[in-house]
Amino acid sequence: MASVKKIRKILVANRGEIAIRVMRTCKEMGIATVAVYSEADRSALHVRTADQAICVGPPPSRESYLVGAKIIDAAKRTGADAIHPGYGFLSENPNFVRMCEAAGITFIGPPASAMEAMGEKTRARANMIKAGVPVVPGSEPLASLEEGRAFAEKIGYPIMLKAAAGGGGKGMRKIEDPKDFESGFRAARSEALSAFGDDKVYIEKYLEKPHHVEIQVFADTHGHTIHLNERECSAQRRHQKVVEETPSPILTPQLRAAMGEVAVKAAKAVGYVGAGTVEFLVDAKRNFYFLEMNTRLQVEHPVTEWVTGIDLVAWQIKVAMGERLPILEPVQPNGHAIEVRIYAEDPATNFMPSPGKIRYLRVPGGPNVRDDSGVYAGYTVPNVYDPMISKLSVWAPTRAEAIERMRRALSEYVVKGITTNTRYLQAIMEHPEFRAGDYDTSFLPRNHEALLSKPNAHLEEIALIASVVYAAKRDEEKAKSVTIAASGDHGGISPWRLMRSAVRR
């Protein structure tokens, strides 16, 4: 089919850690890199990491990173022959894929048609049902209130009402009692209309405490599609993943094989090419249901890289060049990997973002620890983008050892100047439910208070001692400098008193 076309320069249409992640592989492959940046990102690490850098507009993404024409223009100006979209921004925008095609630039990702087939919820559901992929039991878009009520009765409460046209929680309503159906139906429709300009809603069975397990798939342009095992992503907060691991502690080899096969089927059904992820919900009885397909590289791809030894970004580039997948059989997972997402946020104040200047940064080292960071000491985390500053991942032969390694690595992470969630992540690693392995998507919200762990009495005493020594040392310094400056008469005012009024605010 497609012939091999050499890629010599890649424009990375993204920022932060993922832009740097992609550029690292480019460097290793001898491919030149182009960064694009908004005016808020002139000092960002991805600009410093790239071989070339082009400013694409003002800070808001919709005026810079999301403007396809500016990105294409930057690629043309620098002679980039390919664009890697990272995740987010333009990565799942089929129109942008077509713009690239029109400009003769290789888009490193799936074809526009595959994106469209998976991009819209009910269309994706319909495609998957047609392909024989299990989906959460549910209806077509509802023609009327009565049709909806009848369908809900049939599959049983609780149910979810969801907007057909969109995602992200908008137009979504959980209904537990039949008497709430009518009001919920009206509310969901009106929300859907205002969010997506389309008031169609449909019903899905509500799954109690599901696990979120996803399968990494990969397809080349020669008709080969394989899966690279799963990632367990049930540690979520507000639908945002916080911790990911592979293998999933709840999967048997049989279930892995079954889900992998279905994921490959899903990808093939839409003519997929490149790296993609098929997300499933797994219920308590270990039934699994298609949730959605992410038609791009995932944030959490490093855990898969750890246990397979594969550089997924290198594979993306090679597939885009028309190469064949180097392996066509499922890969046996080697050992265990865990990733945590380091956010500039304060868990204690309801996860309030904490942008600002990073005054000091020390990242963990030693065996089998990987830091994918988008920041550096002296960098100011801007307040206009995602607050994720780094992804920390570890590998070990077993899950128990990986957890201990992550605890050790987190204990080495020092970020000063802004608040991060490292202690919260540490508390997750220490939580018995996480350690036992069978945690579902309710784990983090259910244990919110427990995860805001407090220091013990010994550590409080250490803090008391430390703070008093800190005060005493400061008072001493001030006394010294005042004594030196004074050198004589001060009208009876002791230098100690002078000092103290200078110190205290």
Binding site: Y360, D386, L410, R423, V469, A471, K473, R497
Partner: protein
């Protein structure tokens, strides 16, 4: 030298007596026990402390009257005062405890929801306004029980950092 160190959230201070030793270390007495402390100040606000042979890498940040102590991943806030400062504070405590509280935007963002009306009675910790910033929604809470006397925040409008949103009295 005597200090009064109060852990955040606790009322009673712990009395700590500090005595500099000849070798540059300090002897501290608190809760009836004596500790020997070797404190080496490094760059960037870090201090390497060896307390009775136990080693701690401690980071400090000053916040108003408190110091935030980062040790073993935990942040512990401590208010350290000496005798004079303590008396001073007792004298001024009456002034600072109550009064109007202005809730401001902690960062630039967009007001997505105003949860109260002027005249509402609110409890301490009750949500007042939801602001979206860095793709996250953040609920700003009332710092005290009282009455909402002013609302500047408008749903859907962009706000700058430190912009006044709500006043509670």
């Amino acid at each position: 030298m005597r200090y009064y160190a109060t852990l955040k959230g606790q009322k009673e201070p712990v009395v700590v007596d500090v005595e500099p030793l000849k070798d540059g270390r300090y002897a501290l007495t608190l809760n009836g026990k004596r500790h020997e402390v070797d404190a080496l100040a490094l760059e960037h606000g870090a201090v390497s402390m060896v307390i009775d042979n136990e080693s701690y890498s401690v980071e400090f940040e000053d916040h108003e009257d408190e110091v935030a102590v980062l040790v073993k991943g935990h942040v512990v806030r401590v208010d350290v005062a000496d005798e004079r400062r303590r008396r001073l504070r007792a004298a001024t405590a009456a002034f600072s405890a109550e009064g109007k509280q202005t809730i401001t935007a902690p960062m630039p963002g967009k007001v997505v929801k105003v949860l109260v009306k002027v005249g509402d009675e609110v409890k301490e910790g009750q949500g007042l306004v939801v602001v979206e910033a860095m793709k996250m929604e953040n609920e700003l809470k009332s710092p005290k029980a009282g009455k909402v006397v002013e609302i500047t925040a408008k749903e859907g409008s962009a706000v700058e950092m430190n912009a006044k949103l709500v006043v509670v009295e």
